[in-house]
Assembly symmetry: C2
């Protein structure tokens, strides 16, 4: 939570943090978004340890800036035209502007850098700045940085928003299920009222419309994959493909609040009409793994425990896992989940490959998504809820949607 | 155009370019998007001078990767688990993986860096990599970099897509105008059929629905601002505000093709029912400036010429301009336009503040958007088309929409 920032900064001996907010990257700049609440305000966040965060912004964004509740600093205070006359080289002018900002606001010492940026300009600016300023040590954290760690645990307001997104996401999936159920199976194809085959594209369009109607944004990449594609975890699915009975259909949705807000992430696997025994068995195994870990979670426990638990569970049932084999293409081939919030993947890892010692703390929101993938046998299964560790250490699903394989 | 890349790399003595494609930044990573065509493929583009671009990607994105037409390299080739066993520090492991990639693919010498990245992890990785590799010189360009320059001129396929987005954008605005025109003025408010006031929010929702129906994405920040707000170029407008007759209403739309494609950018200023003389006069001045520069454009000419021309035009008519006064809050307070394509602001500048010597080359697509801002008098005016410099040096608007102030 934001209230953890000073503690985290102290633990890492950071004197200040700077969050870049370049224009045009709003919703893809979650660190900055965390401070400005999704508003369109190109600028810069500077927070010194023990002091409130400042938002440096231009005069055009005055109205929006006032709504953030942050301490406001007008960028006009540093006259870029004057600086450019003194420093005709554009990079040197940018460096000089930043140098003056840091000097005037007392930013020095160990300074952490955050936000989403353009690789070239940012690297040029920071490298040159570090060369020029003796009292500045740029601290570039690879991961588990102070802002990621603050963002990982959600406060009450954030959870309320995330619950609402979960309910809406489930409503969209329910609309898709209702739409499919209204079709009839004829000649090994699911057909609509007019007799034409229902396609993956039809389902996708319906879901995108429902999302828009509910104020959700659908980032590219919603997965509606059938058959062999369902066995490839990131295949988005072929819109021209007609829905067929008895095939695995994986629907993985990760919409967010419109305007760059909080994400939800959920997956269900369906089979229309009936499920072949092999698919039903894999489904049972995945659902078994899901239920097992949901019952096993404990606040403060290492994520690694649960990834191992799921690997063991699958291995006992004859499936290969990423713990045993790497690279791996069939069986349980990924990690159990990931943090989520203002990003679809936040910095809580259940990976078998890298053990960072991550633990599940009260306030954490993360996905639980065991899956089994058999593209060679023409199917895959994944079940995913968004899960919340409450302040008192209970575990709740934020995804109120049944887990039934067959759509009758 | 992409075909310019080798020439641009040679001019800047670059041996290779590397475009970062981290997960989760797709549509906000235009440099990478330029190569992968908006597909969701976390990975890396590496192009050595004189050789085709390579896409390094994971096995999960094989299908999507195959559609790019790029030379494919599986990231599996470098076993991250093995590397992590050898280099338990996660940053050192990432550096080692990148070192092996560069060594195996022959990336050395002057290497340009591009793409949208997270500030901290990228700075950490690149700084450490540069320390380790003697044969690597990281070239971080501030602006007008090789990819920006290639992207600035569009090929025939890109223009066809941009024309289509322009037509759709105009259709959305036409729907809004029709919606407003269907209202009636009563008690100094525009009212709908049910007698309730039409609000800015009503217009915005209608436009967002129309955009979705036409396959357009609407990034946050569409402007529908009335009265004083219209005098603040970036005020998005107050959704609760009823539409009022005789007020300036600025509608600035910049949707893009769904899935992170090409943008369009257009603005019209309206007054419902009638325009007060002061507003009409400002409108005539803005339209006069617009028409003048559209007729004056010549391929190869410096952008600065036209910014100066518009400033002179406005100054002659009694308006202050950014050329004369800085900072400035009333009059003509911004630049004439900007490049656009896969980003709403691409790297062609008409700025009065920084003269980079930019010229308008055949293939360029850019906005032309003179405006006058008088928040103290309760209005602002802007007129904006997206404009294209054809290969034979003519100038075409891609925004087929009339420029009439009053909605009768």
């Amino acid at each position: 939570m934001k209230s953890d920032l000073d503690r985290l900064m102290a633990e890492r001996n950071l004197d200040a943090i700077v969050v870049e907010g370049p224009d045009g990257l709003e919703s893809a700049n979650p660190d900055y978004n965390y401070f400005v609440g999704g508003r369109h305000i190109p600028g810069l966040i500077i927070k010194k340890r023990g002091e409130p965060a400042m938002l440096l912004h231009g005069p055009w964004e005055q109205n929006e800036a006032e709504q953030t509740g942050l301490t406001l600093v007008l960028l006009n205070r540093w006259n870029i035209r004057e600086i450019l006359q003194q420093f005709p080289d554009r990079l040197e002018a940018r460096v000089e502007q930043r140098r003056r900002i840091f000097a005037d606001l007392g930013v020095r010492g160990r300074v952490g850098i955050y936000g989403t940026v353009r690789a070239g300009p940012f690297f040029a600016l920071m490298t040159r700045l570090a060369q020029q300023l003796d009292d500045l040590e740029i601290v570039a954290e690879l991961d588990r940085d102070v802002i990621s760690m603050a963002r990982l645990t959600k406060d009450v307001d954030e959870i309320e928003r995330m619950r609402a997104v979960g309910r809406k996401t489930c409503a969209v999936l329910q609309a898709a299920v209702d739409f499919i159920r209204a079709g009839r199976i004829d000649d090994d194809v699911v057909r609509g009222a007019d007799g034409a085959p229902l396609t993956i594209g039809d389902v996708r369009r319906l879901m995108l419309r429902e999302m828009a109607a509910l104020g959700l944004e659908a980032p590219a990449g919603m997965i509606i994959s059938q058959g062999r594609d369902a066995g490839l975890p990131h295949a988005r699915g072929d819109d021209s493909m007609p829905l067929r009975p008895g095939q695995a259909i994986v629907i993985d949705m990760f919409p967010r609040e419109a305007g760059g807000g909080y994400f939800h992430d959920m997956t269900r696997t369906f089979a229309i009409g009936y499920a072949p025994p092999e698919l039903q068995q894999a489904y049972n195994d995945v659902l078994g793994a899901f239920t097992m870990v949901m019952n096993a979670f404990e606040a403060g426990a290492p994520t690694r425990t649960y990834q191992d638990m799921v690997c063991a569970y699958f291995e006992e049932r004859g499936h290969d896992t990423i713990r045993r084999t790497y690279p791996i293409e069939e069986g349980y081939i990924h990690s159990l989940g990931h943090g989520l919030g203002l990003e679809i993947h936040e910095d809580l890892s259940f990976s078998s490959l890298v053990d960072r010692g991550d633990t599940i703390e009260p306030g954490a929101v993360f996905t639980v998504e065991p899956g089994l993938y058999y593209p060679s046998r023409g199917f895959g299964v994944r079940i995913e809820d968004t899960c919340y560790c409450t302040p008192d250490g209970r575990f709740e699903s934020l995804t109120p949607f049944p887990k039934e394989l067959v759509i009758a």
